[in-house]
Symmetry: C3
Subunit: 632 residues, 3 copies
């Protein structure tokens, strides 16, 4: 499959007269894809049941006429104002009980059945009309953006009760599963169970965990409704554009419904608010050197057969971060190549032309709002030129795998036990350490049933180990590293009996778990230290790392290893480096800002730093990259 | 006109027996003015329609009998409790939807028509009764204090819809003006438009901007109603007492309705929360060296023919700042003289006597609550003595002007693009830099139609350049400095086509705008740096300052200059100093804490520092001042 | 009376089969007490009026059969879910107007009369059934925990109005007492008076103060109802388990209703959020060296004849602090002995066995949830062994007293005048300084009527000096130290006339009070400095400390002393050390982390540091202690 480029376009924003010129310029730039339609509901159905397909018909004519392939988005993220008159209770409700009003976007609750049906109906109508003319579909837009997965509406409450009936059958079983005897929280009927907000002090973590599972399931069911409506009329592949560090729903589950996973990559927009740790001052104009890569690898695991795209790629300053600098010259090119290095089939820039009004008027496009070329345009053209004789997408299983699990994210949000204990941050820290050693990584879902071919597998902070994964871990030939905080709970976020962890091939029991503030790490005898979390393990395994006061930190038994604490940067690099070498991997410690990624045939080297860096004797300029043959 | 003194007095708080002694002591102290009445509604109309004017009649008798001139305040800032029974929906509503309840003050929504009418009726009754006996009027009290301009009440929502009808005529024109096609935000009728709070993510900036214009207009209309009611019965001049850094309504617009602008100057109260930047630790007991001066110059522009007063001057510790230190001995005198140096007709201390109960019991007066003299009294007496042979108010046009615009303040609050981009803070930073060069400054409204007589004019961060000002800028003989972020938007907070800025006499187009955090300034080749904002300009003008990586920062064309970024303190001083010298001004770089101000005949030198400072060979003690002849 | 040990146990959480073994292990460990029942309402009365006493009967049989004495808790802190159906308006309401929902605990408003009656009824039924079988009672659980004293419910509002009628008789008297003429806040009837939340700006401090007094009174009345219901059927002593730094109700007042005061001591849980000042990083695994001691001394003053217990003692990591480290080995023992050193009759660990579900599943017990011994168990056993030949509880009046007053806490929360002015923090700072000098201290209520036997008495920050205390201060033979901010207000939080303070034996009047931020202390001529608060006093007394600019800070007249400001650590140690020596006390300056406490016959020395410390030639290991004979 060719590596391709594209852009996001809003014909409804511009005079019809300029569409053709736009289409021609897109084609001339070397773009293959144009995504349209996902915010256009008020123009497609200006009043309930009154449709205006004409302009979209013509827009698709113009775009396909210029040789472009259309990705059509369903417009459910922006229901028109009249939809609220139809469904006055369709709005999501925030944790303090306030409806989240019309006036921007994503103003709906995933649990509202009638709006869900209306949205699926609209998707079906579009598929019916355009099913043969479009090359791919996108459902909705950026599920979960603006914290929209979790809603405390009456619709959510009613749906939650039904979900609980489904899960527990009887209220006695629920009381038992949640331990409601504690604090006399027993319920007499499902109708008494409220959403877990506004309680006097923290609600039962089992109640919260159930609500988080439910909330994710509502997104999965919502997406399923649109996918079904589209598939009834179209054979084109379906996708959804995920966001950076949105973890409130199980992306693997939606991923299983669609052919392609895409995501919206805003390296500068994400840097300050969403990236855990890192030297932000050094990367204000480049973005974090590992954050995009992590999501590339994560969403590759969400697409069927690893199919994934960048649906929106930042081409200049955006409007929505706390501050919005311009990318360092070269970064628009670098980000694109990095996506291809991680296996992307397509990179699409958001947006074609800056729109001079409304919320995103300060969001750069490839064109300025006066249609002249914006600074990012030239770099896009450079990538397009380079792609002409570049190899195709070349999938490759990485030598190292890391299991990332949405339910574990919810679990530790519900019950961190120490501020900052976060599954994403833990996985990302270890991912960073692996990357700083020059390793390429696959991210795996907890549903993984085989670990064949991996020299090293990390399973950090996993709430529970599902049966299939447990079997795979038992059979794995590589080194399997568990912990910290892996398998210390049940699915109901209770402590298991006997106590955890119950690790394949490594016997240990946690006697006590403690957490400590960021300014009070525990030092290791071998250097570096442990942050935030330390489980005290009773074990007969070999202990190869200890805190300065003797607590076991790294347990070893054959090709199994377990981390009892959260290693800080130097100790993570040291410990994982040693394990990787033991696993037979070629470890290449990299300077700050330099990153590698291998495909089946290529090695890419990216310089995220703002100064030149040396790789194997080659000087890479700031925001520069190398495309090498993969070392054999 | 003589420079005069006064105080704020509450006869309703004290036994009638001591009024005469109070009046005598005021007169003996050398006061001219006594402001009364503005919080007394519950005592003037104890029940709806039942009036008790007697005590006020007698209080005015006593005060005028002692030779004092009375300023009478309308009491609408504190509607009595029964008013809420009359108008249960009169309360303002906060951004989260909660009514702001009775129990303090300013508990009303400016959009509530019936309360507005009741308040105007009361003003009319007072004017009818006292129109001939009072020397001046004050409407209400401190509009906007406690964030009371913006209200999300039903009254505000209904009034906003009417205002939108007025502004746009049809909902289609509104949809177009706001760009509602973006995100399907189109409205079908004005009745669908809600206030822009509690949306899922940020509302349309055009929606917010309209709401901010509307909110300001409601204050202006509210004040107009009272002014009209008073004018029907009284020829005495009318004033309102503005606050420090309240920017939610257009003070120039209310200013045009009344003869005199006054403001309430609390240098220590404002220091920590309201002053942008500066070395707060150094000025805890003096107040910021530029903050009072800025407001003196601003409100001079709000009074007709530059007529302005201090209506409330801090005489000791207040009760409402995060911490409330005592003024450094000398500051009560210094603040008074500084007001006169900026053209004040009167300085009135708040309050005559400390009230031992309720919210402000820890707020110092000239007298302690036991009627003995508080520490500030002696300094007030010293000023009174010095005034006896001081020259009269001597207005003078300053050599430098700076345009400050309320709508620009709203615009950048709505759409800062980078946290901290604030019109007030930008203007104040440049004002500080000018003051540190020893310059006297006039602040001008955007309605200014001539710039004659100014050697230098600054127009920073102006949303749009109104036609009259544009003409004045074209004709100006002085150096006109625009930017940063001047004229980059339309009135609807959209990007203009062709792109801005459209500057008189200096051709440049902004290709891209970026913002960056406070810890990441961009260095300048000539030293100093740019904070927060940088617009990338395409221009043929001469570039005399560049960032270290070459971006143009100061553009020059003849006597026009444009700043592309927000200069930090050293670069602002250097750049404005060079421009001022080029404009032929005498630049006097001053040490920290020393400030100059010239009137037509005098030069004042103020020492805000807590240590002695030298000015031209004269040592000024801490909190001391020099009164010199103006250098020719 | 013997020093005894105990634990908290929840038979309803465990299979009945293991109760007997649990009881035997408790007895074997050396425990005397077992507290049960306080969260078991849903199991005692599963539906309204349907009781299931059987399991509790059997649990008490098993426990007493093993020789344990039962403390039975009334279960009103956790009303079952059906109680909400009976009383839908029973929930407390937060300051923003939101009901605080079911789903955790303490979900009731103290002002709800019908739930109050139901809770008392339940207490009565339990007393009727178990009055002869239990050794002691506990009412409810941790009043005030989770900020539950203050409620803005309709029930609270209605009760507040009745309380106001009771206090003021007529609304005119209320208007006068509150100074409502200020800002036209006069009321025409009690029905117009709302709770003081959600006002536009701060409400009248007298209004707030009345609401705080009322809120405390509601807790006192609530507890009285349960005490009366229990006393009707049982002669066993009654207690309540107070919390650390909960100050929203008057613990002395509830204390007068019951025989024993107990408290729940969580040294690590409290450290980061509740301890004012101190070096937290040094004590993460030990707790603050003075915080437990302060509460021991405070609650000793709340029990009748000084009777007090630790009802819940932390035995390992808890689950509810921001981070939850494990105690340094030795601390579980140290904390226990420290309680006995301060006169505790009993120390009970919370909880017997960790419960693997619900909110506190990460809260350690003496046993792990799999019934094996947790790390704290061995230290508990060590204490039990040591107790066998330890002396009995040996009460002793301390040489130094400090008056702590709940109403003063409310007063300065209502009107701090400078952020951080807090009665608890002030008293604690001075308590710390006294402890760092090796002194033992009694804490006294403001109702104290004699100060006989105290060599030194501190009365800091007291809102008013009640008549009996005033007389006691006049007659005291020891040195009496008042201030800062003592007696500067009336009971209504107004300024008295004549102005305060009105100090026994030391004439001074406050001319002005000022506050200043933490980074701007005022230096003292003798070293050290004053933080936050300085009252400027007119006095003829001798001044022995002054600020560097000459303001009087320490006034002396005979054996009376007054502090005009809040001394920082070094100056508090110096000033109090000099006064203590003058009072004839043996002052022993202690190194950081070392603390002394004397009983009638013993001297205890505790090492809170994480390194060994020397006391009089003896080396005490980290978390170690010395038990010496009291020096004569």
């Amino acid at each position: 499959m060719k590596r391709t480029l594209g852009t996001c376009y809003y014909p409804e924003h511009w005079p019809e007269e300029i569409w053709a010129d736009d289409a021609r310029r897109m084609a001339d730039l070397g773009l293959t894809w144009v995504r349209i339609g996902e915010f256009a509901w008020s123009r497609l159905e200006p009043a309930p049941g009154r449709f205006d397909w004409g302009w979209l018909d013509r827009a698709i004519d113009v775009l396909t006429g210029a040789g472009l392939s259309v990705v059509l988005g369903t417009p459910s993220a922006t229901p028109p104002r009249w939809m609220l008159d139809r469904h006055p209770d369709m709005l999501a409700v925030d944790a303090t009980g306030r409806p989240r009003k019309f006036g921007s976007r994503r103003h709906y609750c995933f649990s509202h059945a009638a709006y869900r049906a209306d949205a699926a109906r609209m998707a079906g109508l579009m598929a019916e009309r355009y099913g043969d003319r479009v090359a791919a579909w996108q459902t909705d837009n950026e599920y979960g953006c603006h914290d929209t997965v979790i809603s405390y509406s009456a619709a959510a409450r009613d749906a939650f009760r039904l979900w609980l009936v489904e899960r527990y059958g009887t209220v006695d079983r629920l009381n038992q599963a949640w331990g409601n005897v504690f604090w006399s929280m027993d319920y007499d009927s499902f109708d008494q169970i409220d959403l877990p907000n506004l309680t006097v002090t923290e609600p039962n973590p089992a109640h919260l965990m159930a609500f988080r599972r439910f909330s994710s399931d509502q997104v999965v069911a919502w997406n399923a409704a649109q996918v079904a409506a589209i598939r009834a009329h179209s054979k084109a592949p379906i996708s959804h554009n995920y966001m950076g560090r949105v973890t409130e729903f199980d992306h693997y589950a939606t991923g299983r419904q669609m052919e392609i996973a895409t995501w919206d990559s805003y390296p500068l927009g994400f840097l300050l608010d969403r990236v855990p740790g890192g030297d932000k001052a050094a990367y204000l104009r480049q973005g974090d050197p590992d954050f995009q890569a992590f999501h590339h690898d994560l969403y590759r695991a969400c697409g069927q057969d690893g199919r994934w795209w960048i649906m929106e790629q930042q081409p200049g300053p955006v409007n929505w971060a706390p501050w919005n600098p311009a990318p360092l010259p070269g970064m628009v090119r670098l980000w694109s190549w990095e996506a291809f290095a991680h296996g992307a089939e397509a990179v699409c820039w958001f947006r074609w032309r800056q729109f001079p009004q409304a919320q995103e008027q300060q969001h750069a496009g490839l064109l300025r709002s006066d249609s002249t070329e914006a600074p990012g345009f030239a770099e896009a053209a450079e990538v397009a030129a380079e792609l002409r004789d570049a190899p195709d997408v070349a999938p490759m299983q990485a030598p190292v795998a890391l299991v990332f699990d949405y339910a574990s994210q919810w679990a530790w949000e519900v019950q961190p036990q120490g501020q900052g204990f976060d599954h994403f941050a833990l996985c990302f820290d270890l991912y960073r350490a692996l990357r700083s050693l020059g390793l390429s990584i696959d991210i795996l879902p907890p549903e993984t049933a085989t670990l064949d071919g991996y020299a090293m597998v990390l399973v950090p902070g996993l709430l529970t180990i599902p049966a299939a994964l447990r079997t795979a871990m038992e059979r794995a030939e590589g080194i399997v590293v568990t912990g910290p905080r892996t398998d210390l709970k049940t699915d109901e976020l209770a402590m298991p009996m006997p106590l955890g962890p119950n690790l394949p091939g490594l016997a240990a029991t946690s006697v006590m778990e403690e957490t400590f503030p960021p300014d009070a790490p525990r030092g290791l005898q071998n250097g570096g230290g442990i942050d935030l979390w330390l489980e005290h393990l009773k074990t007969d395994a070999e202990v190869t790392e200890r805190t300065t006061d003797g607590t076991a930190v790294l347990l070893r038994q054959g090709r199994r290893a377990h981390l009892a604490g959260w290693p800080n940067k130097p100790s993570a690099q040291r410990i994982l480096g040693d394990l990787a070498r033991e696993a037979g991997l070629a470890v290449t410690p990299l300077p700050e800002g330099l990153r590698l990624r291998d495909t089946a045939t290529e090695r890419f080297v990216f310089n995220y730093a703002s100064h030149p860096l040396d790789y194997a004797g080659q000087i890479i300029p700031p925001a520069g990259l190398l495309r090498l043959s993969r070392p054999s």
